[in-house]
Amino acid sequence: MEDTLHPNTTKEIKPPVINIGIIGWIRANLFNGWFNTLLTLVFAYVLFLTVPPFINWALINSSWFTTSEECKASGGACWSVVTTNIRFMLFGFYPHALQWRPLLAIVILIALLIYSRNRNHWRKSLAYAWAIGLFTMGLLLKGGLFGLESVESTKWGGLPLTLLLSVFGLTAAYPVGIILALGRQSKMPIVKSFCVIYIELIRGVPLISLLFMSSVVFPLFLPEGMTINPILRAQVAIIMFTAAYIAEVVRGGLQGVDKGQYEAAQSLGLNYFQSMRRIILPQALKIVIPPSVSILISAFKDTSLVVIIALYDLLKTTQTTLTDPKWMGYSSEAYIFVALIYFVCCFFMSNYSRKLEKELDTSL
């Protein structure tokens, strides 16, 4: 009794042990209420049924660097289908001895992307670095200059083709998209209606119809004797498609700029081009950076559709590998490998987009 009255000797009463620490956390997050307890148990059971067999299949019983006959014997996952054919899957029909070139191009691209993550690096010099980088990548793939052996574009394939179509597609589509967005916002009725029709038409149809168009209708548009290679045709279709989506995103940015900014620019005596170039677009484009990353993600995923017009992108080289009688029946392993590549790329991009959104959000 005395103890509790005397302040200096009062024992600190700790919360019950079941409310703190790991036990407390488990109680609060997994077993709060009968319904959540039931859910936890059901999902834990499902995980117990699925995860250990999967790990068994994918890691413990798997074979990594074997022939296909040895794979059949092991009973687990046959990652050998990936390790044996990895050069074909990643680079397609690109000449074997020259495959360091597309590899170097990919490394340059990744280095540029990582360097651009930090917003402090966003200066004019970065734009030049990108321009030089993109040019070098194209040069590495194509060759023909500086003693590099020229490689026909029909031999391009695999991951470089996927990256080429999406990165060049987005780069080329962006200016077109901005022009379309400005056209849609303009007060000139004819320009506006052309832009609206284009944007709504493209957004209303699936990409595959444009790719079909690129492979069967584009050749009819050209004068006799003139042909364009299939990769460029698909690239044009992807640019046309992406530009319409970029236009809608940029339009959102233009509408997000305060009306006072437009009026202030006009009252300074700037003409349309000056006010857009100096006042409106810099602000509008800043708003649309995060959604632009989302468009890059979809463009990256959408390039896989070129499989349907028989271009040898990452997915098509994988499928070709799987038609080899030796490696038939190991689709899951090969597809999981490709899915992993796509997942890692998209995951980093979408995380980055979320981070940017938080950083650029100046509202309270």
């Binding site: 997994l30 320009v191 349907i308 998209c346």
Partner: protein, 390 residues
């Protein structure tokens, strides 16, 4: 007083004249480009002696289609073949949309669950399925059916009457009986009755303030009436269960591997996006709304119905429709796994007739009809639910 006459504005600084000039340039540019393309095309068509127009509609298609909702054989016309493809696209999209909304809503709600395990699993699902191209997922499910699933003899049987094998998904259905037709009619009648009850209840509430339990009564009518009719017309319970005969199943309903793989891929992929939409919608309603509704004495059910849902739906519905439209557009990837949807049939038609322009135009028109009708509906809906601001 001296006034200077306003300086005459030179034409290159006069916005109205400039506007006319730019628009003239645009029309000229677009016109010249189309003239160039069209004249090239006409020359090419003539040189390759490709006919134009939609005359091929009546000609014999001479190719088989794997599955179809209307009767079709290779002797039928291209027009009928395209109709088969159109119905296939429509059916996979329709079933896909229903399943996607259900699955997406569940995952979206689970994402916000207080249960740590459930919330993390849903988050992982969303991230995983969003980041892998839909086409790759379709290929995976297709290979799953043809490589991993066993032959009919060793078919998986997860539920009684439901079989999963490399011939697709096969399940039992009730034996056909006229009672089901009457039940269906009763359901339609129930719908009409519910519509009028709802109108009457709203009128009564506006006049007297009394709340009629519309939801409970509606469910009772919609479920009770068909069951009652089914019971009165003999309560048939015979089932048509598939059974193994030789190398394949007989009886029941069987769904092809292509259709199942396409449906599975579309639903799992789109549900991840729908889940994000649902989550954002629920989070957009501020907590104060719920607390305020509870404090004025509404019951939890009423809080959800009258306060939370109307506000959340305003945020959810526009992006939801665009996701469902994406599902419809993505169903065109059926061509890659051999399901005869509209794009696939049109592709075959292009190959056989050589009339690429008409074929691609048909594909575009069909999808434009879907998109334009959806956006017309969206505009109507947005107008209906828009906040009336003072």
């Amino acid at each position: 007083m001296q006034t200077t006459a306003p300086e005459k504005i030179p034409f290159f600084r006069d916005p109205t004249k400039l506007a006319i000039f730019y628009q003239f340039l645009t029309v000229l540019g677009v016109g010249l480009l189309s003239y160039y393309l069209i004249s090239n095309t006409l020359a090419n068509l003539e040189r390759q002696s490709i006919s134009t127009g939609f005359g091929f509609f009546d000609r014999e298609a001479a190719f088989e289609i794997g599955e179809s909702f209307i009767e079709y054989s290779a002797a039928d016309s291209y027009g009928r073949a395209l109709a088969v493809g159109f119905l296939n696209t429509l059916s996979v999209s329709f079933i896909g949309i229903i399943l996607t909304v259900i699955l997406g809503t569940f995952i979206g709600v689970a994402r916000l669950s207080t249960n740590w395990l459930v919330a993390k699993l849903s988050a992982a699902y969303i991230e995983f399925f969003q980041d892998i191209p839909i086409l790759l997922q379709l290929f995976f499910w297709y290979a799953f059916f043809y490589e991993i699933l066993p032959s009919p003899r060793q078919a998986l049987n997860p539920l009684p009457g439901l079989f999963l094998c490399n011939r697709g998904l096969i399940f039992g259905v009730p034996e056909w009986h006229s009672a089901f037709l009457y039940g269906g009619i009763a359901f339609l009648i129930g719908l009409i009755v519910v519509y009028f009850i709802k109108k009457w209840a709203a009128k009564r509430q506006a006049a007297t303030g009394l709340i009629f339990p519309t939801a409970k009564v509606s469910v009772a009518i919609l479920l009770g009436l068909p069951v009652l009719v089914w019971f009165l017309s003999g309560a048939p319970t015979a089932m048509n269960i598939p059974s193994l005969k030789g190398f394949n199943f007989k009886g029941g309903v069987s769904i092809s591997p292509e259709f199942t793989a396409l449906l599975l891929g579309l639903v799992l992929y789109t549900a991840a996006f729908v889940a994000e939409v649902v989550r954002a919608g629920i989070q957009s309603v501020s907590k104060g709304q719920k607390e305020a509704a509870l404090s004025i004495g509404l019951r939890p059910g009423q809080v959800l119905n009258l306060v939370i849902l109307p506000q959340a739906l305003r945020v959810i519905v526009p992006p939801l429709t665009s996701q469902l439209l994406n599902l419809t557009k993505n169903s065109s990837l059926a061509v890659a796994i051999g399901y005869p949807d509209f794009v696939s049939v049109a592709g075959t038609t292009i190959n056989q007739t050589g009339q690429a322009i008409e074929g691609v135009a048909l594909i575009m028109i069909v999808y434009l009809i879907f998109s334009l009708s959806t956006s017309a509906y969206m505009n109507w809906y947005n107008k209906k639910i828009a906040l009336v601001e003072r």
